[in-house]
Protein backbone atom coordinates (compact mmCIF):
# COMPACT_ATOMS: atom_id res chain seq x y z
CA UNK A 1 0.00 0.00 0.00
CA UNK A 2 1.25 3.40 -0.88
CA UNK A 3 1.95 5.91 1.88
CA UNK A 4 -0.26 8.51 0.26
CA UNK A 5 -3.79 7.14 0.39
CA UNK A 6 -5.15 9.45 -2.32
CA UNK A 7 -2.46 8.41 -4.79
CA UNK A 8 -3.29 4.86 -4.06
CA UNK A 9 -6.99 5.45 -4.72
CA UNK A 10 -6.08 7.37 -7.87
CA UNK A 11 -3.86 4.55 -9.07
CA UNK A 12 -6.46 1.94 -8.34
CA UNK A 13 -9.07 3.93 -10.19
CA UNK A 14 -6.66 4.30 -13.12
CA UNK A 15 -5.95 0.59 -13.13
CA UNK A 16 -9.68 -0.14 -12.98
CA UNK A 17 -10.31 2.13 -15.99
CA UNK A 18 -7.23 0.94 -17.87
CA UNK A 19 -8.37 -2.66 -17.55
CA UNK A 20 -11.64 -1.73 -19.27
CA UNK A 21 -10.71 1.08 -21.66
CA UNK A 22 -6.96 0.47 -22.30
CA UNK A 23 -5.92 3.93 -21.17
CA UNK A 24 -2.25 2.98 -21.42
CA UNK A 25 -2.50 3.03 -25.21
CA UNK A 26 -3.89 6.56 -25.08
CA UNK A 27 -1.21 7.76 -22.65
CA UNK A 28 1.49 6.23 -24.82
CA UNK A 29 -0.01 7.98 -27.85
CA UNK A 30 -0.14 11.35 -26.08
CA UNK A 31 3.44 10.86 -24.86
CA UNK A 32 4.72 10.31 -28.40
CA UNK A 33 3.31 13.58 -29.75
CA UNK A 34 5.63 16.57 -29.88
CA UNK A 35 5.61 20.18 -30.97
CA UNK A 36 8.33 21.65 -33.20
CA UNK A 37 10.05 24.69 -31.69
CA UNK A 38 10.61 27.59 -34.09
CA UNK A 39 10.59 31.36 -33.76
CA UNK A 40 6.86 31.21 -34.66
CA UNK A 41 6.04 28.71 -31.89
CA UNK A 42 4.24 31.34 -29.80
CA UNK A 43 1.45 31.35 -32.37
CA UNK A 44 0.73 27.68 -31.67
CA UNK A 45 -1.07 28.79 -28.50
CA UNK A 46 -3.84 30.72 -30.30
CA UNK A 47 -5.77 27.58 -31.29
CA UNK A 48 -5.85 26.55 -27.63
CA UNK A 49 -6.82 30.06 -26.50
CA UNK A 50 -9.74 30.04 -28.95
CA UNK A 51 -10.86 26.70 -27.55
CA UNK A 52 -10.60 27.97 -24.00
CA UNK A 53 -12.64 31.09 -24.82
CA UNK A 54 -15.24 28.80 -26.41
CA UNK A 55 -15.53 26.97 -23.06
CA UNK A 56 -15.91 30.35 -21.33
CA UNK A 57 -18.74 31.18 -23.76
CA UNK A 58 -20.50 27.89 -23.08
CA UNK A 59 -20.34 28.38 -19.30
CA UNK A 60 -21.33 32.08 -19.25
CA UNK A 61 -23.96 31.42 -21.92
CA UNK A 62 -25.60 28.71 -19.82
CA UNK A 63 -25.58 31.07 -16.81
CA UNK A 64 -27.22 33.87 -18.84
CA UNK A 65 -29.91 31.40 -19.98
CA UNK A 66 -31.12 31.16 -16.38
CA UNK A 67 -32.56 34.69 -16.57
CA UNK A 68 -32.80 35.67 -20.24
CA UNK A 69 -36.31 35.70 -21.77
CA UNK A 70 -36.37 35.36 -25.57
CA UNK A 71 -39.32 37.57 -26.51
CA UNK A 72 -39.56 41.01 -28.07
CA UNK A 73 -41.55 42.24 -25.07
CA UNK A 74 -39.26 40.96 -22.36
CA UNK A 75 -35.78 40.34 -23.79
CA UNK A 76 -34.51 43.88 -23.15
CA UNK A 77 -36.01 43.95 -19.65
CA UNK A 78 -34.54 40.55 -18.79
CA UNK A 79 -31.04 41.64 -19.87
CA UNK A 80 -31.52 44.85 -17.88
CA UNK A 81 -32.50 42.71 -14.89
CA UNK A 82 -29.36 40.57 -15.36
CA UNK A 83 -27.19 43.70 -15.50
CA UNK A 84 -28.84 45.59 -12.64
CA UNK A 85 -30.27 43.08 -10.16
CA UNK A 86 -28.80 39.58 -10.52
CA UNK A 87 -25.67 39.17 -8.34
CA UNK A 88 -22.64 39.40 -10.67
CA UNK A 89 -25.03 39.48 -13.66
CA UNK A 90 -23.10 42.43 -15.09
CA UNK A 91 -19.88 40.42 -14.76
CA UNK A 92 -21.20 37.29 -16.43
CA UNK A 93 -22.70 39.23 -19.35
CA UNK A 94 -19.59 41.41 -19.74
CA UNK A 95 -17.34 38.34 -19.76
CA UNK A 96 -19.64 36.71 -22.35
CA UNK A 97 -19.35 39.83 -24.53
CA UNK A 98 -15.57 40.26 -24.16
CA UNK A 99 -14.87 36.56 -24.52
CA UNK A 100 -16.86 36.53 -27.79
CA UNK A 101 -14.75 39.36 -29.16
CA UNK A 102 -11.44 37.90 -28.01
CA UNK A 103 -12.43 34.47 -29.34
CA UNK A 104 -12.99 35.87 -32.83
CA UNK A 105 -9.70 37.81 -32.63
CA UNK A 106 -7.82 34.75 -31.41
CA UNK A 107 -9.36 32.55 -34.14
CA UNK A 108 -8.30 35.12 -36.75
CA UNK A 109 -4.72 35.21 -35.41
CA UNK A 110 -4.71 31.39 -35.45
CA UNK A 111 -5.88 31.36 -39.09
CA UNK A 112 -3.30 33.93 -40.20
CA UNK A 113 -0.44 32.14 -38.40
CA UNK A 114 -1.47 28.77 -39.86
CA UNK A 115 -1.37 30.45 -43.27
CA UNK A 116 2.12 31.91 -42.82
CA UNK A 117 3.41 28.59 -41.43
CA UNK A 118 1.84 26.82 -44.43
CA UNK A 119 0.25 24.33 -42.06
CA UNK A 120 -2.83 24.01 -44.30
CA UNK A 121 -0.95 22.00 -46.93
CA UNK A 122 -1.52 18.37 -47.75
CA UNK A 123 -2.48 16.27 -45.74
CA UNK A 124 -4.22 18.90 -43.57
CA UNK A 125 -6.69 20.30 -46.13
CA UNK A 126 -9.80 19.29 -44.19
CA UNK A 127 -8.40 20.59 -40.90
CA UNK A 128 -8.00 24.00 -42.57
CA UNK A 129 -11.48 23.90 -44.08
CA UNK A 130 -13.06 22.88 -40.75
CA UNK A 131 -11.17 25.77 -39.13
CA UNK A 132 -12.52 28.23 -41.70
CA UNK A 133 -16.02 26.86 -41.11
CA UNK A 134 -15.59 27.39 -37.38
CA UNK A 135 -14.53 31.02 -37.93
CA UNK A 136 -17.68 31.46 -40.03
CA UNK A 137 -19.62 29.84 -37.20
CA UNK A 138 -18.11 32.26 -34.68
CA UNK A 139 -19.24 35.19 -36.85
CA UNK A 140 -22.72 33.63 -36.99
CA UNK A 141 -22.62 33.30 -33.19
CA UNK A 142 -21.68 36.98 -32.98
CA UNK A 143 -24.39 38.08 -35.39
CA UNK A 144 -27.17 36.04 -33.78
CA UNK A 145 -26.11 36.87 -30.21
CA UNK A 146 -25.98 40.59 -31.00
CA UNK A 147 -29.77 40.71 -31.52
CA UNK A 148 -30.69 38.94 -28.27
CA UNK A 149 -30.67 42.03 -25.95
CA UNK A 150 -33.23 43.54 -28.38
CA UNK A 151 -31.74 47.02 -28.29
CA UNK A 152 -31.70 49.72 -30.96
CA UNK A 153 -28.25 48.90 -32.38
CA UNK A 154 -29.03 45.19 -32.50
CA UNK A 155 -32.33 45.77 -34.26
CA UNK A 156 -30.84 47.78 -37.12
CA UNK A 157 -27.72 45.60 -37.36
CA UNK A 158 -30.05 42.63 -37.89
CA UNK A 159 -32.14 44.49 -40.42
CA UNK A 160 -29.02 45.37 -42.41
CA UNK A 161 -27.49 41.91 -42.04
CA UNK A 162 -30.60 40.09 -43.21
CA UNK A 163 -31.11 42.61 -46.05
CA UNK A 164 -27.55 41.86 -47.21
CA UNK A 165 -28.57 38.20 -47.34
CA UNK A 166 -31.62 39.23 -49.40
CA UNK A 167 -29.27 40.72 -52.03
CA UNK A 168 -27.98 37.22 -52.95
CA UNK A 169 -29.37 36.44 -56.41
CA UNK A 170 -32.31 33.98 -56.73
CA UNK A 171 -32.47 32.52 -53.21
CA UNK A 172 -31.67 35.69 -51.21
CA UNK A 173 -35.24 36.88 -50.62
CA UNK A 174 -36.34 33.43 -49.50
CA UNK A 175 -33.33 33.11 -47.16
CA UNK A 176 -33.96 36.54 -45.62
CA UNK A 177 -37.64 35.61 -45.15
CA UNK A 178 -36.69 32.40 -43.34
CA UNK A 179 -34.06 34.18 -41.22
CA UNK A 180 -36.45 36.96 -40.22
CA UNK A 181 -39.42 34.65 -39.89
CA UNK A 182 -41.46 37.08 -41.96
CA UNK A 183 -41.13 40.26 -43.98
CA UNK A 184 -39.58 42.33 -41.19
CA UNK A 185 -37.28 41.90 -38.22
CA UNK A 186 -39.68 41.17 -35.36
CA UNK A 187 -40.15 39.06 -32.24
CA UNK A 188 -40.20 36.00 -34.51
CA UNK A 189 -36.69 36.89 -35.68
CA UNK A 190 -35.58 37.13 -32.06
CA UNK A 191 -36.89 33.61 -31.37
CA UNK A 192 -35.16 32.22 -34.43
CA UNK A 193 -31.85 33.86 -33.60
CA UNK A 194 -32.15 32.63 -30.01
CA UNK A 195 -32.66 29.04 -31.14
CA UNK A 196 -29.76 29.36 -33.55
CA UNK A 197 -27.49 30.92 -30.93
CA UNK A 198 -28.11 28.50 -28.07
CA UNK A 199 -28.91 25.22 -29.84
CA UNK A 200 -28.07 24.93 -33.54
CA UNK A 201 -24.72 26.72 -33.63
CA UNK A 202 -23.32 25.13 -30.43
CA UNK A 203 -24.24 21.67 -31.75
CA UNK A 204 -22.52 22.24 -35.08
CA UNK A 205 -19.56 23.87 -33.31
CA UNK A 206 -19.11 20.85 -31.02
CA UNK A 207 -18.95 18.51 -34.02
CA UNK A 208 -16.47 20.73 -35.87
CA UNK A 209 -14.26 21.23 -32.79
CA UNK A 210 -14.19 17.46 -32.27
CA UNK A 211 -13.22 16.85 -35.89
CA UNK A 212 -10.56 19.60 -35.84
CA UNK A 213 -8.94 18.25 -32.65
CA UNK A 214 -9.06 14.61 -33.70
CA UNK A 215 -7.50 15.53 -37.07
CA UNK A 216 -4.67 17.36 -35.30
CA UNK A 217 -4.04 14.45 -32.92
CA UNK A 218 -4.19 11.93 -35.74
CA UNK A 219 -1.86 13.79 -38.12
CA UNK A 220 0.39 15.48 -35.57
CA UNK A 221 1.54 19.09 -35.72
CA UNK A 222 2.59 20.44 -39.09
CA UNK A 223 6.37 20.84 -39.39
CA UNK A 224 7.30 24.29 -40.72
CA UNK A 225 9.59 24.28 -43.76
CA UNK A 226 12.33 26.26 -42.01
CA UNK A 227 12.35 23.66 -39.22
CA UNK A 228 12.49 20.75 -41.67
CA UNK A 229 15.35 22.43 -43.54
CA UNK A 230 17.55 22.28 -40.46
CA UNK A 231 19.86 19.29 -39.91
CA UNK A 232 18.03 16.71 -37.73
CA UNK A 233 20.20 17.36 -34.65
CA UNK A 234 19.24 21.05 -34.66
CA UNK A 235 15.48 20.44 -34.89
CA UNK A 236 14.26 21.39 -31.43
CA UNK A 237 11.00 19.96 -30.18
CA UNK A 238 8.88 19.84 -27.04
CA UNK A 239 6.67 16.98 -25.84
CA UNK A 240 3.00 17.91 -26.19
CA UNK A 241 2.13 16.07 -22.99
CA UNK A 242 2.75 17.46 -20.45
CA UNK A 243 5.14 20.31 -21.44
CA UNK A 244 3.07 22.06 -24.11
CA UNK A 245 -0.25 21.35 -22.41
CA UNK A 246 0.96 22.89 -19.13
CA UNK A 247 2.03 26.03 -20.99
CA UNK A 248 -1.43 26.05 -22.62
CA UNK A 249 -3.09 25.87 -19.20
CA UNK A 250 -0.91 28.65 -17.81
CA UNK A 251 -1.83 30.88 -20.72
CA UNK A 252 -5.54 30.09 -20.28
CA UNK A 253 -5.20 31.23 -16.69
CA UNK A 254 -3.64 34.51 -17.86
CA UNK A 255 -6.39 34.97 -20.49
CA UNK A 256 -9.14 34.42 -17.89
CA UNK A 257 -7.63 37.12 -15.68
CA UNK A 258 -7.30 39.49 -18.63
CA UNK A 259 -10.94 38.78 -19.49
CA UNK A 260 -12.05 39.56 -15.95
CA UNK A 261 -10.10 42.84 -16.01
CA UNK A 262 -11.72 43.85 -19.32
CA UNK A 263 -15.18 42.97 -17.99
CA UNK A 264 -14.64 44.99 -14.82
CA UNK A 265 -13.17 48.10 -16.42
CA UNK A 266 -15.17 48.06 -19.67
CA UNK A 267 -18.52 46.38 -18.88
CA UNK A 268 -21.04 45.60 -21.60
CA UNK A 269 -23.61 48.29 -22.45
CA UNK A 270 -27.28 47.76 -23.07
CA UNK A 271 -28.34 50.95 -24.90
CA UNK A 272 -31.95 51.84 -25.74
CA UNK A 273 -34.70 49.30 -26.28
CA UNK A 274 -35.40 48.52 -29.94
CA UNK A 275 -38.28 50.49 -31.46
CA UNK A 276 -39.16 49.40 -35.00
CA UNK A 277 -40.70 52.83 -35.64
CA UNK A 278 -37.75 54.95 -34.51
CA UNK A 279 -35.06 56.10 -36.96
CA UNK A 280 -31.67 54.38 -37.03
CA UNK A 281 -29.55 56.24 -34.45
CA UNK A 282 -26.72 58.48 -35.68
CA UNK A 283 -23.27 56.92 -35.37
CA UNK A 284 -24.61 53.35 -35.67
CA UNK A 285 -21.78 50.91 -36.44
CA UNK A 286 -21.37 47.13 -36.34
CA UNK A 287 -18.96 45.13 -34.17
CA UNK A 288 -15.29 45.46 -35.19
CA UNK A 289 -15.25 42.17 -37.12
CA UNK A 290 -17.94 43.44 -39.52
CA UNK A 291 -16.50 46.99 -39.85
CA UNK A 292 -14.66 46.28 -43.12
CA UNK A 293 -17.82 45.00 -44.86
CA UNK A 294 -19.75 47.95 -43.41
CA UNK A 295 -17.24 50.49 -44.73
CA UNK A 296 -17.19 48.86 -48.17
CA UNK A 297 -21.03 48.93 -48.29
CA UNK A 298 -20.83 52.63 -47.47
CA UNK A 299 -18.30 53.36 -50.24
CA UNK A 300 -19.94 51.35 -52.99
CA UNK A 301 -21.90 53.39 -55.55
CA UNK A 302 -25.65 52.65 -55.89
CA UNK A 303 -25.09 50.72 -59.12
CA UNK A 304 -22.13 49.09 -60.85
CA UNK A 305 -23.11 48.58 -64.49
CA UNK A 306 -26.54 46.94 -64.51
CA UNK A 307 -26.18 45.54 -60.97
CA UNK A 308 -26.83 46.92 -57.48
CA UNK A 309 -23.56 48.12 -55.92
CA UNK A 310 -24.00 46.15 -52.70
CA UNK A 311 -24.72 42.90 -54.58
CA UNK A 312 -21.46 43.28 -56.53
CA UNK A 313 -19.57 44.12 -53.32
CA UNK A 314 -20.96 41.11 -51.49
CA UNK A 315 -20.15 38.86 -54.45
CA UNK A 316 -16.51 40.02 -54.54
CA UNK A 317 -16.14 39.62 -50.76
CA UNK A 318 -17.72 36.16 -50.90
CA UNK A 319 -15.29 35.09 -53.64
CA UNK A 320 -12.40 36.35 -51.48
CA UNK A 321 -13.62 34.25 -48.55
CA UNK A 322 -14.09 31.23 -50.82
CA UNK A 323 -10.48 31.60 -51.99
CA UNK A 324 -9.34 31.51 -48.34
CA UNK A 325 -11.39 28.36 -47.64
CA UNK A 326 -10.09 26.60 -50.76
CA UNK A 327 -6.48 27.70 -50.17
CA UNK A 328 -5.08 24.14 -49.72
CA UNK A 329 -6.36 23.33 -53.21
CA UNK A 330 -4.96 26.54 -54.73
CA UNK A 331 -1.47 25.99 -53.22
CA UNK A 332 -0.89 22.29 -53.84
CA UNK A 333 2.70 22.21 -52.58
CA UNK A 334 2.98 19.38 -50.03
CA UNK A 335 4.27 19.84 -46.47
CA UNK A 336 7.89 21.03 -46.40
CA UNK A 337 7.79 22.19 -50.04
CA UNK A 338 9.05 25.62 -51.18
CA UNK A 339 7.14 28.78 -50.25
CA UNK A 340 5.36 30.60 -53.02
CA UNK A 341 6.38 34.20 -52.51
CA UNK A 342 3.51 35.60 -54.56
CA UNK A 343 1.06 33.96 -52.19
CA UNK A 344 2.71 35.70 -49.22
CA UNK A 345 2.56 39.02 -51.09
CA UNK A 346 -1.12 38.67 -52.08
CA UNK A 347 -2.17 37.52 -48.59
CA UNK A 348 -0.17 40.22 -46.81
CA UNK A 349 -1.62 42.89 -49.10
CA UNK A 350 -5.16 41.59 -48.51
CA UNK A 351 -4.55 41.52 -44.76
CA UNK A 352 -3.17 45.07 -44.69
CA UNK A 353 -6.13 46.33 -46.75
CA UNK A 354 -8.56 44.52 -44.43
CA UNK A 355 -6.95 46.13 -41.36
CA UNK A 356 -6.87 49.62 -42.94
CA UNK A 357 -10.53 49.42 -44.07
CA UNK A 358 -11.53 48.16 -40.59
CA UNK A 359 -9.73 51.10 -38.96
CA UNK A 360 -11.32 53.54 -41.45
CA UNK A 361 -14.72 52.00 -40.72
CA UNK A 362 -14.10 52.79 -37.06
CA UNK A 363 -12.77 56.35 -37.40
CA UNK A 364 -14.71 57.77 -40.37
CA UNK A 365 -18.01 59.43 -39.43
Amino acid sequence: MNQDGSTSIGRRLYRWLDERYHLNDLVAFLGSKDVPITRMSFFYYFGGITLFLFFVQVVTGILLLMYYVPSADEAYESVHYIMAKVPFGWLIRSIHMWSANLMILSAMIHLVSVFYMRAYRKPRELTWISGCMMLGLLLAFGFSGYLLPWNELAFFATRIGTEVVASIPLVGDWMAYVMRGGEDVSGTTLNRFFGLHVAVLPGVAALLVAFHLIAIQRQGMSKPTEWLNKPPEQRRRMPFFPNFLLRDLLLWFVVLNFLAALAVFFPAHLGEKADPFAPAPAGIKPEWYFLAQYQVLKWLPPTIGPFDGDSVGMLVMSLGMLAVVLLPFLDRTPEGGPRRLWLDLVATLALVILIIVTVLGHVLP
Partner: protein
Protein backbone atom coordinates in the same frame (compact mmCIF):
# COMPACT_ATOMS: atom_id res chain seq x y z
CA UNK B 1 -30.02 -25.84 -53.40
CA UNK B 2 -26.30 -25.18 -53.97
CA UNK B 3 -25.00 -22.65 -51.41
CA UNK B 4 -22.39 -21.22 -53.84
CA UNK B 5 -23.22 -18.29 -56.05
CA UNK B 6 -22.58 -18.67 -59.80
CA UNK B 7 -21.64 -22.27 -59.23
CA UNK B 8 -20.41 -23.69 -62.62
CA UNK B 9 -21.84 -27.10 -61.77
CA UNK B 10 -25.34 -25.89 -61.20
CA UNK B 11 -27.00 -24.70 -64.39
CA UNK B 12 -29.41 -21.87 -63.87
CA UNK B 13 -27.95 -20.83 -60.51
CA UNK B 14 -26.30 -17.66 -61.91
CA UNK B 15 -29.68 -16.37 -63.04
CA UNK B 16 -31.04 -16.71 -59.56
CA UNK B 17 -28.08 -15.08 -57.81
CA UNK B 18 -26.91 -12.12 -59.86
CA UNK B 19 -29.28 -10.72 -62.38
CA UNK B 20 -27.95 -7.23 -63.19
CA UNK B 21 -31.29 -5.87 -64.33
CA UNK B 22 -33.07 -7.23 -61.28
CA UNK B 23 -30.39 -5.77 -59.03
CA UNK B 24 -30.69 -2.38 -60.76
CA UNK B 25 -34.45 -2.44 -60.36
CA UNK B 26 -34.12 -3.27 -56.67
CA UNK B 27 -31.55 -0.49 -56.21
CA UNK B 28 -33.81 2.01 -57.96
CA UNK B 29 -36.80 0.95 -55.87
CA UNK B 30 -34.82 1.01 -52.64
CA UNK B 31 -33.08 4.32 -53.47
CA UNK B 32 -36.40 5.82 -54.54
CA UNK B 33 -38.07 4.81 -51.28
CA UNK B 34 -35.17 6.24 -49.28
CA UNK B 35 -35.46 9.53 -51.18
CA UNK B 36 -39.23 9.63 -50.76
CA UNK B 37 -38.81 8.88 -47.05
CA UNK B 38 -36.20 11.64 -46.71
CA UNK B 39 -38.53 14.03 -48.53
CA UNK B 40 -41.38 13.20 -46.18
CA UNK B 41 -39.10 13.89 -43.21
CA UNK B 42 -37.45 17.06 -44.52
CA UNK B 43 -40.44 18.71 -46.21
CA UNK B 44 -42.46 19.30 -43.02
CA UNK B 45 -39.31 20.67 -41.32
CA UNK B 46 -38.59 23.09 -44.18
CA UNK B 47 -42.25 24.12 -44.37
CA UNK B 48 -42.30 24.66 -40.61
CA UNK B 49 -39.50 27.24 -40.99
CA UNK B 50 -41.60 29.39 -43.35
CA UNK B 51 -44.02 31.37 -41.22
CA UNK B 52 -47.58 31.66 -42.53
CA UNK B 53 -48.33 35.13 -43.93
CA UNK B 54 -49.43 37.26 -41.00
CA UNK B 55 -52.95 38.65 -41.16
CA UNK B 56 -51.46 42.09 -40.41
CA UNK B 57 -53.89 44.83 -41.08
CA UNK B 58 -52.79 46.56 -44.24
CA UNK B 59 -53.72 50.05 -43.16
CA UNK B 60 -53.99 52.20 -46.24
CA UNK B 61 -54.36 55.58 -44.59
CA UNK B 62 -53.47 57.27 -41.32
CA UNK B 63 -54.06 60.66 -39.69
CA UNK B 64 -50.62 61.83 -38.66
CA UNK B 65 -51.55 65.07 -36.83
CA UNK B 66 -52.82 68.59 -37.29
CA UNK B 67 -51.17 71.14 -39.57
CA UNK B 68 -49.83 73.37 -36.81
CA UNK B 69 -48.12 70.44 -35.08
CA UNK B 70 -45.51 70.38 -37.85
CA UNK B 71 -42.99 73.22 -38.09
CA UNK B 72 -41.51 74.22 -41.43
CA UNK B 73 -38.27 72.35 -42.26
CA UNK B 74 -39.09 69.36 -40.07
CA UNK B 75 -39.77 65.66 -40.39
CA UNK B 76 -41.91 63.27 -38.33
CA UNK B 77 -41.96 59.48 -38.28
CA UNK B 78 -45.30 57.72 -38.08
CA UNK B 79 -46.72 54.25 -38.37
CA UNK B 80 -48.53 53.03 -41.47
CA UNK B 81 -49.64 49.43 -40.98
CA UNK B 82 -46.50 47.50 -40.16
CA UNK B 83 -44.13 49.99 -41.76
CA UNK B 84 -42.69 53.34 -40.68
CA UNK B 85 -43.47 56.43 -42.76
CA UNK B 86 -41.92 59.90 -42.71
CA UNK B 87 -43.91 63.12 -43.10
CA UNK B 88 -41.76 66.08 -44.15
CA UNK B 89 -42.79 69.74 -44.08
CA UNK B 90 -40.57 71.82 -46.36
CA UNK B 91 -39.42 75.34 -45.49
CA UNK B 92 -42.21 76.62 -47.77
CA UNK B 93 -44.78 74.76 -45.68
CA UNK B 94 -45.54 71.96 -48.20
CA UNK B 95 -46.15 68.42 -46.93
CA UNK B 96 -44.56 65.32 -48.44
CA UNK B 97 -44.52 61.76 -47.19
CA UNK B 98 -42.58 58.59 -47.96
CA UNK B 99 -42.14 55.08 -46.66
CA UNK B 100 -39.28 55.69 -44.18
CA UNK B 101 -37.30 52.60 -45.18
CA UNK B 102 -33.95 53.27 -46.86
CA UNK B 103 -33.76 51.63 -50.29
CA UNK B 104 -30.18 50.52 -49.59
CA UNK B 105 -30.35 48.06 -46.70
CA UNK B 106 -33.69 48.65 -44.96
CA UNK B 107 -32.74 51.06 -42.14
CA UNK B 108 -35.30 53.59 -40.96
CA UNK B 109 -34.46 57.09 -42.27
CA UNK B 110 -34.82 60.44 -40.47
CA UNK B 111 -35.07 64.15 -41.34
CA UNK B 112 -31.82 66.11 -41.09
CA UNK B 113 -32.68 69.71 -40.35
CA UNK B 114 -29.30 71.34 -40.99
CA UNK B 115 -29.14 70.00 -44.56
CA UNK B 116 -32.89 69.73 -45.23
CA UNK B 117 -32.50 66.16 -46.46
CA UNK B 118 -33.82 62.76 -45.49
CA UNK B 119 -30.87 60.87 -44.07
CA UNK B 120 -30.09 57.24 -43.31
CA UNK B 121 -27.65 56.91 -40.42
CA UNK B 122 -26.62 53.35 -41.29
CA UNK B 123 -24.52 53.99 -44.42
CA UNK B 124 -24.87 57.76 -44.80
CA UNK B 125 -27.40 57.65 -47.66
CA UNK B 126 -29.25 60.90 -48.44
CA UNK B 127 -32.52 61.69 -50.22
CA UNK B 128 -33.84 65.10 -51.19
CA UNK B 129 -37.31 66.24 -50.17
CA UNK B 130 -38.73 64.76 -53.37
CA UNK B 131 -37.46 61.42 -52.07
CA UNK B 132 -34.75 61.16 -54.76
CA UNK B 133 -31.51 59.40 -53.74
CA UNK B 134 -28.88 62.13 -54.01
CA UNK B 135 -25.82 60.78 -52.22
CA UNK B 136 -24.39 57.63 -50.68
CA UNK B 137 -25.24 54.05 -51.56
CA UNK B 138 -29.09 54.00 -51.89
CA UNK B 139 -29.91 52.71 -55.39
CA UNK B 140 -33.51 53.98 -55.67
CA UNK B 141 -35.71 56.86 -54.48
CA UNK B 142 -37.89 56.40 -51.38
CA UNK B 143 -41.37 54.99 -52.02
CA UNK B 144 -43.77 57.97 -52.07
CA UNK B 145 -47.01 58.28 -50.08
CA UNK B 146 -49.93 60.61 -50.72
CA UNK B 147 -50.62 63.52 -48.37
CA UNK B 148 -54.00 65.19 -48.08
CA UNK B 149 -54.94 68.00 -45.71
CA UNK B 150 -58.59 67.79 -44.62
CA UNK B 151 -59.50 70.80 -42.52
CA UNK B 152 -56.45 71.04 -40.30
CA UNK B 153 -55.79 67.28 -40.26
CA UNK B 154 -52.89 65.82 -42.20
CA UNK B 155 -53.71 62.40 -43.66
CA UNK B 156 -51.19 60.15 -45.37
CA UNK B 157 -52.17 57.20 -47.52
CA UNK B 158 -50.67 54.56 -49.79
CA UNK B 159 -50.82 55.63 -53.44
CA UNK B 160 -53.84 54.18 -55.22
Amino acid sequence: MCPERNCPNCPGEENRAESPSKRRLLNVLLGGSVLAWLGSVLYPMAAFLLPPPSPAMRERSVMVGTVNEFANNSGTLFRLGTRPGILVRTDRGEFRAFIAICTHLDCTVQFKEDESVIWCACHNGKFNLQGMNISGPPPRPLDPLEVSVRGDEVHVSLPA
